[in-house]
């Protein structure tokens, strides 16, 4: 994207467009190896929670240290607020699954606002789709375990609904539970993170174009002694720099916002997984 701007005719075109938006999503492999940046980050997102849990809960002292209290508060938050708070009776046994999914998605999301990484691994559709399929399998298995084959017949022919409405409600229930649930769970996480990543890239790259790129500071320093050869002159930079500063300020504001979004989306993903498991476990609600 940045390379596209270097070939751009910046005198006639105020805004340099990247040739193709797909450039935003392409990253080179490490050297000649087949390992891409995404795979390394996925591995890290798996290892960091494990390391955090191991070092945080290794000693189990009564007066917790800093790391231990952080890990314990995350753990008790997921256990009390999500596992027991949402699923209710029998929710404790889903705590390990929910805590691993929460930590993995949280670390994966926070890569978006980590300086020098700035790439959320959960913005690759494969990852949220896989996680949501895990939840899908779990809540189907739990539903079948709890209600037997009645789980599916209740979906198609819901009890407690007038007979005339049963086929209609049945179709809606069937589609919403078996198709829309896993799809929307995955798309929610994916689209939030992609939107944030694209927004940050566009704003901060715009700031870079307007302040640093050709015609900006670099050009001024390189060509200033020669004088006549560079287009626009100081006026050109003065005209562009405030626009760049505005984009940069907005980009920083969005950066803070994305920090909140990352944490919130990890919470929502875990919460919805718990809600789906709860509807299978306690069908009476």
């Amino acid at each position: 994207m940045i390379t596209a701007a270097e070939t751009c005719d910046f005198i006639n075109e105020v805004v340099c467009k990247p040739a193709n938006v797909k450039e935003l999503f392409e990253f080179a492999n490490f050297g000649s190896s087949q390992i891409s940046r995404t795979e390394v980050l996925i591995l890290l997102a798996g290892l960091i929670p494990v390391a955090l849990m191991y070092f945080g809960l290794r000693k189990k002292s009564t007066v917790p240290g800093k790391l231990q209290s952080v890990v314990e508060s995350i753990f008790s938050f997921v256990k009390d607020e999500i596992a027991v708070g949402v699923i209710g009776r029998g929710g404790e046994k889903f705590t390990p699954y929910l805590i691993s999914i929460f930590m993995f998605v949280l670390v994966g999301n926070l890569f978006e606002v980590t300086p020098l990484v700035n790439f959320p691994v959960t913005s690759r559709m494969a990852l949220p789709l896989f996680l949501s399929l895990l939840t899908y399998v779990i809540f189907l298995v739990v539903g079948v375990q709890k209600q037997g084959i009645g789980y599916f017949t209740h979906l198609i022919w819901p009890p407690g609904v007038p007979v005339a409405l049963k086929p209609l409600v049945g179709i809606i229930e069937l589609v919403s539970v078996l198709l829309v649930r896993p799809f929307s769970l995955a798309v929610r996480l994916f689209a939030n993170l992609v939107a944030g990543h694209v927004m940050l890239s566009l704003l901060l790259a715009s700031a870079y174009f307007f302040i640093v790129q050709p015609g900006g500071v670099e050009y001024l320093i390189a060509r200033a002694p020669i004088g006549a050869a560079w287009p626009g002159g100081v006026e050109y930079l003065i005209a562009r720099a405030p626009i760049g500063a505005a984009w940069f300020t907005l980009g920083l504001a969005i950066y803070g916002f994305e920090l909140i979004v990352s944490i919130l989306q990890a919470y929502i993903f875990t919460l919805l997984s718990a809600v789906y498991i709860q509807t299978s476990l306690h069908p009476e609600h």
């Binding site: 949402v86 929307s184 689209a191 992609v194 939107a195 919130l264 929502i268 919460l271 919805l272």
Partner: protein, 67 residues
């Protein structure tokens, strides 16, 4: 031109969820103001409602990329 249609489509897709999230958040604030002791429960339910409503806008956003 297709991208322009997709942009218009995304804008239209964002209207409904925008209104919906506004209603949810507004009513949640009202509920929390009336019963501060139920704030935790209301907040969880509010996030759930927002997540369900927001999905519609996000599907529009994804369609914009697919075009």
């Amino acid at each position: 031109m297709e991208a322009a249609y997709a942009l218009i489509g995304y804008g239209l897709a964002a209207i409904g969820p925008g209104i919906g999230i506004g209603l949810i958040a507004g009513n949640a604030v009202q509920a929390m103001a009336r019963q501060p002791e139920a704030a935790g429960m209301v907040r969880t339910t509010m996030f759930l409602g927002i997540a369900f409503t927001e999905a519609l806008a996000l599907i529009g956003f994804v369609l914009f990329f697919l075009v």
